[in-house]
Symmetry: C2
Subunit: 586 residues, 2 copies
């Protein structure tokens, strides 16, 4: 097919839009792929829509290849199923809620576990119907607090979401593995640089859970990779390898000190150096000190109240609130306020130690490094006083171990294979063993081989189609414009006539006909009164992978073939069609 | 491609769903094409989605063929543009409105004139960019007061809407004609029985306007067709041919009578017969009497007040409120209340005549038959009194002629070609010369050839994709099930093994592989423990156009080929692939 630039609904911009911060947003707007309709809500212009549809089609092919059956749920949904799952409430402000003309509560679907589970319940009743994998490619709505970066994080976007239903856990494992492979195929076909990260399961409940993160500086998610293996994980999912326990016997008794000038960890370490205090025969570092953070925790029951708790962390590490949040979920936490300190006089602010927490019945959570027998310099529960040689399991007790400390570049990898590096990524996909959370909530009962009722187990798998387009623009651009992989470029070939000669325009028109006849998709810059310079700039901005230019050299029968982001070839006009066919077909 | 019924996400039902009244609704649910998610909101199951996508693709092809450029607007829209066009208010309860987390008003788009006009305004500035035709195939939302008949009239549905922008009225005429032809192609390809009806332009404003109505008993729209031409029109759009004016001179003076027993038109005619009163030398009929309906009209200005008006109709015709509504739009009307009669003592209820209306400054609207010089028997503005021989233009004046009388089967066709028949239809498409209403409202200013600012003129064209599927089910079914045209059937061929012989199942599996290899889409009923009777019933219900059965005769090398809704052929197994290819390729 041929599209002529003289007729295409397009206006390229030389200036970045004022509200755009990341390259993909700037370029997709400047190249006329998308246009803002409202905050976080975008219109797809003709070029953008073509690429979007091609991405959808690749995802569809890979989903069909693993036996997925496509269907389509509405976006406008009734409240009841989301009440059953409790997500009507849990989604909070992220959910678009509305009332219809009769005052009935409805919502715009953010994800469809509830609807798929209900459909399976209604339509299937025997184990013979299982396993089944269903999917949809559909418009979703989330009222993001901070929609950002154009279509990268919008409030209306297209997702592929699929759901597997199996009678056995082994079946779920297989469905999960099939999706994992399908997702790898999709990302590989789209030439995306990505990592598969172990994830916490979060509010969704369930067990195995991995995220497909595109590696990107503009990503909002931080993740880690091991230097010597393909281990990768969300920061929230990193498990701290616990050191071996230390024998308590023979450790010296704890000693309290007056420490008037040591309100911070650094000053405490300086004080220890000045006092020649050593740990295990070596100079003290921040890692030998113990911070006692005081927080309040409220569990998920509707009538739950805030309760004080302590979180013990090695002094050289900050509290990572996201990690603590993930570890406590569905319970929530807050840092203790001035008021909390005032009400609980045993908390000596700045000098809280684990002993007063134990003594006053406050639950103590600790970093896994606070292993039994480990010895610490920490607060002595009175202003300007610290204690040295306080031993876990002797002088204080840990109630629960928890992942709350920050993860640092260079930390030991959990799988023991080298150390961790920190990277930024954009979540593109999530695969997830949901288990029976939804099938139980919706009372999906299936007769098994013995005629007994059983509840199928469920997996949930999502890929952001809209976001994938943004990521491709993010990972594949240069300072001149976009640079699409041939499989999803709006057009495979861009032909520009950059020669005022009537013969060149005529030859260009003939060439695009030939390329079209050969089955290629061609964007033809046939604009008569546009300078070659502008045409070149637009070709670079729009980002088709192959640009054929009928320019000065055309008088000598040469067409310039620019491989976007690569070399420029001089190709005899007679060979251009076959050459492009080779390049496009790979 | 091959889909196996043993694995397809499908459950056919033998019973009609309780809430279904029309055949398409019953069958689409029973055959597992759709499933209700909420009132007027449906889920597309795998079979339904395949047909829906095929319909979309046909519409897309025909839109591309007339140079339409596909794009995609969001469904979630900001309030402002709809405030500019006043449709935020005009749509009333039909609009789904919602607020986002910041309290900003948003809506779910019912149609997108505003958005397209804004996009053209932003992107184009010169006459050289015109004409342009843009379209989308997109999910729309209307909060119908009475969603009905399954997907026939839903609250979430897919539409193709397109918009043409031209610098000249002649250009708009051409764009309109192109769309008209494209729509004809679409309906013809889908083998839909339809009529193109002249329509009133309604709330949209503008001039030329035609609806594509599918002929159907279950349709909500009544339309007329001429017996001797292809004239068709919405009842609202029927223009009454006015009779010739009658000379006033020489007509006898009006005479008042006491008519104690003539409160109705019928009793008035009986009275005239009893009194031997004649009109033009023949016995009086209802058509010689004149009804004076008293109504209140309020124009569209925000501060407008209700004003009394009279509507004069021949006594043998009822007031058609929809026709009056369409004729008065955007003003609205109500029938006068008891209170109105009480407040306006000159209105003698049941005996109102045009003279008191004229005398009291009440605007008089009249049916076109109340032509100058026509003579009527009508109310004499006092209880139990009528007047005979009241002549229009002599004894009373008409302020405006209006189309408000019911249209009857057998009325003269407006084009003079025979008479009218009344039919019922389902609106499937609407093409519409909007003119400059939206481009003016959005201040779309384009530099013309002389460098002067000009406002482009706009056309709006819609086709209901979802509704088209329902109409196809409605027009093409029998008492056994659906009956799809091959171009949009979910699968072209249905293969059923109705023979317990292992050889038959094996041959069936081999046959579907061959059909797949030949490029056909095959639904394979490979279910092992299902009886032949159930398989036949399901094949009829699901409605694929060609059903190949490996049954009893298969032992003799014969495959039964049932053409859905047609004949059954016995085809040697060796010829079945080529035979099916012929049938499918047409």
């Amino acid at each position: 097919m041929i599209t002529r630039l003289s007729q295409l609904f397009l206006r390229t911009l030389r200036e970045d839009p004022a509200d755009a911060e990341v390259p993909s947003h700037k370029l997709l707007v400047r190249a006329g792929y998308v246009r803002r309709a409202a905050p976080g809500v975008y219109t797809w212009l003709p070029l953008g829509l073509r690429t979007l549809r091609k991405i959808e089609e690749i995802v569809r092919e890979e989903m069909n290849a693993i036996g997925g059956q496509e269907m389509l749920f509405p976006a406008l949904l009734p409240r009841e199923p989301y009440e059953t799952s409790n997500r009507w409430t849990e989604y909070g402000n992220n959910l678009f809620r509305l009332k219809d003309r009769r005052g009935t509560d409805m919502l715009l679907g953010p994800t469809h576990e509830e609807m798929f589970a209900s459909a399976v319940k209604d339509m299937y009743s025997s184990y013979k119907d299982f396993p089944v994998t269903l999917y949809q490619i559909q418009t979703k709505y989330r009222d993001e607090e901070r929609p950002r970066a154009g279509v990268l994080r919008g409030r209306e976007f297209i997702m592929k979401d699929s759901y597997s239903f199996d009678m056995t856990d082994a079946g779920l494992d297989e469905a999960y593995a099939r999706h994992r492979r399908a997702y790898q195929n999709i990302f590989n076909r789209l030439e995306i640089d990505y990592a598969i990260c172990k994830a916490t399961s979060g509010a969704m409940g369930g067990s195995a859970s991995e995220e497909f993160l595109a590696v990107s500086e503009v990503g909002e998610d931080t993740f880690v990779r091991a230097t010597n293996s393909d281990y990768a994980a969300n920061v929230e999912a990193v498990i701290t390898p616990a050191p071996a326990e230390v024998p308590i016997e023979g450790q010296p008794a704890a000693v309290e000190y007056q420490t008037p000038d040591a309100p911070t960890i650094d000053s405490l370490v300086d004080w220890a150096h000045a006092e020649n205090i050593e740990v295990a025969g070596r100079a003290v570092t921040g890692a030998d000190t113990l911070k006692c953070m005081v927080v309040k925790i409220r569990d998920a029951r509707p009538d739950a109240e805030w309760e004080l708790a302590g979180v013990l962390l090695p002094g050289d590490r900050a509290l990572d609130e996201k990690r603590l949040e993930a570890a406590l979920e569905p319970a929530e936490f807050e840092l203790a306020s001035e008021e909390d300190f005032a009400k609980n006089r045993f908390l000596a602010k700045g000098y809280v130690g684990p002993r007063s927490l134990n003594a006053n019945g406050v639950t103590v959570y600790a970093d896994p490094r606070v292993v039994k027998g480990s010895s610490w310099i920490t607060g002595a529960d009175a202003p300007n006083r610290h204690v040295v040689g306080l031993v876990a399991g002797r002088d204080f007790e840990v109630d629960h171990y928890i992942e709350a400390a920050e993860v640092k570049e260079g930390d030991r990898a959990p799988d023991g294979e080298g150390t961790l590096t920190l990277e930024r990524g954009i979540e593109l996909g999530h695969i997830f063993q949901l288990g029976r959370k939804y099938t139980e909530a919706f009372d999906v009962q299936i007769l098994d081989e013995n005629g007994k009722r059983a509840t199928p187990t469920m997996g949930s798998y999502g890929i952001g189609i809209t976001r994938m387009l943004a990521v491709l623009a993010e990972q594949r651009h240069d300072d001149k414009g976009l640079r699409w992989p041939v499989e999803i470029a709006p057009y495979q070939v861009h032909v520009a006539v950059a020669n005022k000669d009537a013969a060149a325009l005529e030859a260009g028109a003939k060439l695009v006909e030939e390329l079209d006849a050969a089955g290629l998709e061609v964007l033809f810059d046939d604009r008569a009164k546009v300078s070659p310079g502008v045409k070149f700039k637009d070709a670079e901005l729009l980002g088709m992978p192959f640009v054929a230019i009928l320019g000065r050299a055309f008088a000598d029968g040469i067409i310039e073939l620019r491989i976007r982001g690569g070399e420029t070839l001089e190709v005899p006009a007679s060979e251009i069609v076959s050459r492009l066919l080779e390049l496009v077909r790979g």
